[in-house]
């Protein structure tokens, strides 16, 4: 339509050979869901349209819950979600998928950074080392000063000020929150007794709406600490998290490693589903254990075969090296570990296009 920024051909000259589809996809397709995926999806849409210029794709970052809701009404071709489908949702999907049940495929892996703003430390570009228990205690309001011995002991080389800690968390329901606190629940359950939820469970510190809210709040005052998708960290300080007996800094590759060291959740109901049980307690060399895995949810069969063709092509592109590279450039995500590739291909092949 009018005003489109048509991509130049240089971007996709290299990519055209890697796409297996011979006939380009055309038509209008829409998805909705996780806002965390937004930046990546923008890149994917641009990349996908490079080879399928007739495809018009829209993604509404309305949130995982709303995305799944909309998907289950049949209004969208796929949903992006920060968490895997619930059992009843799989059951519900029978009414929209013409055959079988919906399934999820991991497409987006992003480390969650523990960001902080502390005069003399973060503005000097330094990291702070913490183990899971310390982070959990901070976010539970048990540690309230930056020079608390629990922190200081792990950071002998830093001069920590006597500043009060202001915790900043998400105020809206969020997959980021759930993934973040599930790290505590897995690694240091004694220090995190709350139920697992997408809502922040206590009233420590301050809540802010969306990743953007957290980041801007952290930036606004000295002594703040929060958590956010790695791509939004900017020049804030990040916490290096203790894995095994080392403190590992956050990076895309480090995030990827924990997924490589994780198993699939085989308790989930339904076919073709690939749900990753993140191994937060990983001791893998150089792994950063706090990650968010976000899925794309599709049907194995659609009323409209065009939709099916699209879903198949879309997932194929998104999970390809090329797609993952695009996401990494645009959103700083971690690439899907190669161990998952064959499983993913198998699930995608399950989509019926005839």
């Amino acid at each position: 339509a009018c005003g489109d920024n048509t991509a130049t051909t240089t971007d996709n000259s290299s990519s055209s050979d890697s796409t297996s589809k011979s006939t380009p996809i055309s038509g209008n397709f829409s998805g909705a869901g996780a806002s965390s995926q937004q930046a990546a999806v923008e890149a994917w849409i641009a990349g996908f349209q490079g080879t399928n210029p007739e495809a018009k794709i829209a993604y509404n970052p309305s949130g995982s819950g709303a995305g799944v809701q909309t998907f289950l009404t049949g209004a969208t071709a796929w949903a992006g979600s920060d968490k895997a489908l619930a059992d009843d949702e799989v059951e519900q999907s029978k009414s929209v998928c013409t055959e079988g049940t919906a399934f999820d495929v991991p497409v987006y892996i992003s480390p969650i950074a523990v960001v902080f703003n502390l005069k003399g430390v973060s503005d000097a570009g330094k990291h702070i080392n913490m183990d899971a228990a310390t982070i959990a205690k901070i976010f539970d309001g048990k540690i309230t000063k930056w020079n608390d011995p629990a922190i200081a002991d792990q950071n002998k080389d830093l001069k920590l000020p006597d500043t009060a800690i202001t915790v900043v968390h998400r105020s809206d329901k969020s997959g980021t929150t759930q993934n973040f606190v599930s790290y505590f629940k897995d690694v240091t359950p004694d220090n995190w007794t709350y139920d697992l939820s997408e809502n922040w469970p206590n009233e420590v510190g301050q809540g802010a709406k969306g990743t953007s809210g957290v980041i801007s709040t952290v930036k606004q005052a000295d002594g703040t600490i929060g958590y956010a998708d790695f791509s939004q960290v900017g020049d804030l300080g990040t916490v290096a998290v203790k894995v095994g007996d080392k403190y590992n800094e956050i990076s895309a590759e480090a995030g990827s490693k924990v997924i490589g060291d994780s198993k699939q959740d085989d308790t989930v109901k339904g076919d073709n589903r690939i749900v990753i049980k993140i191994n937060h307690a990983t001791e893998a060399e150089g792994a950063y254990p706090i990650v968010l895995v976000s899925y794309d949810i599709v049907c194995p069969a659609y009323k409209d075969t065009k939709q099916a063709e699209f879903a198949k092509a879309w997932l194929t592109y998104v999970t390809s090296d090329e797609g993952q590279k695009a996401a990494q450039d645009a959103a700083g995500t971690a690439p899907l570990p190669s161990s998952l590739k064959s499983e993913i291909t198998k699930s995608i092949e399950a989509i019926k296009t005839k």
């Binding site: 809701q69 202001t166 105020s171 809206d172 329901k173 469970p201 301050q206 709406k209 005052a221 703040t224």
Partner: protein, 317 residues
């Protein structure tokens, strides 16, 4: 002109058109009632699972919203209601005196040219979208106002309202109230200005002729005349503040307490902002719950505006 004379007695289709037009006008009048009823009914139907649905699932939904703090709909909505009313009343309190001041300035103190320009600016400000107030409040005001709140907490902390320590950054009820006050200020100002301007000259002159100073004239003639208008303007503004979404969403650090610690974070949340915050990630039942809270908000604003209208009616009668 014989044909003209003939038709002059029987105008074409005039009577039917008359009836149809009257019917349409009548229908549109009735439609207002229908629309209001529809608002209520559709919200009610969509929120029905709260009442008629599986209560266990409901309480699970609520506890998932609140991280286990509340497990019943009322346990959820009442603190929200408290927060909503608290924030709005504070905003009204701040905006009220300032607005009356500006309105008097425009109507009785400023030179005519300046007054016209100011009126225009005030009307314009009423139309600035709330998302822009949200941007400004969240990014500019929050850091800028912290020193002030900190000062207040240090010096007036003995008053429970101002109990310290002041949250930094100040994403607090106090800051939100200031932003809402700025947002409703133009509403109160423009309505009271219009009323102040209508003060009968006679009454103003009566006061002046008795040897009243300007302020005494305002006290004797202008304020009593404008009283009911000021009240109803304030109620309208209160209604607007009660329903404000984006600015609260983008600024306030929410909590679910019955708390009046204005300078501390994570104390209260408003219904409207809560809907906007939870809606994206809510499942079917969650949406019902949120619409249930929306229904409560609707009823509250309904009552407030109803009172406002009744007050004006009484005063003009």
């Amino acid at each position: 002109m014989s044909s003209q004379d003939k038709t002059a007695v029987q105008p074409v289709g005039g009577k039917t058109a008359d009836k149809v037009f009257r019917g349409v006008a009548y229908a549109c009048g009735i439609l207002i009632l229908v629309v209001l009823a529809a608002v209520f009914l559709f919200l009610f139907f969509r929120a029905w699972p709260l009442i008629g649905g599986d209560q266990a699932a409901n309480s699970q939904t609520v506890s998932s919203f609140t991280g286990g703090k509340a497990s019943s709909f009322w346990g959820y909505v009442l603190p929200l209601l408290f927060g909503t009313v608290l924030v709005s009343l504070l905003a009204l309190l701040i905006a009220f005196f300032v607005s009356i001041g500006i309105a008097l300035f425009i109507s009785h103190y400023a030179p005519k040219k300046l007054a016209t320009a100011l009126s225009y600016v005030v009307d314009l400000l009423a139309a600035i979208p709330s998302v822009i107030y949200g941007l400004w409040g969240g990014l500019i005001l929050v850091p800028a106002i912290y020193p002030f709140w900190n000062w207040v907490a240090n010096h007036l902390g003995f008053i429970p309202l101002f109990e310290g320590p002041a949250a930094n950054p100040s994403r607090t009820v106090a800051t939100v109230a200031v932003v809402l006050a700025v947002m409703i200020l133009p509403i109160i100002t423009s309505m009271s200005r219009d009323i102040f301007m209508q003060t009968p000259r006679l009454h103003e002159e009566a006061a002046l002729a008795l040897g009243a100073t300007k302020w005494e004239m305002i006290r004797l003639a202008v304020l009593p005349f404008g009283k009911s208008g000021i009240v109803s303007a304030s109620m309208l503004a209160l209604g607007r503040a009660l329903g404000e979404t984006m600015a609260v969403l983008m600024i306030l650090s929410p909590g679910l307490n019955y708390s009046i610690k204005l300078l501390q974070a994570s104390q209260n949340q408003t219904i409207a902002a809560n809907i906007a915050a939870q809606y994206p990630e809510a499942n079917d039942l969650g949406v019902s719950t949120l619409i249930g809270t929306g229904l409560i908000l609707f009823l509250i604003t309904f009552v407030v505006n109803f009172i406002a209208r009744k007050l004006t009616e009484k005063a003009t009668a």
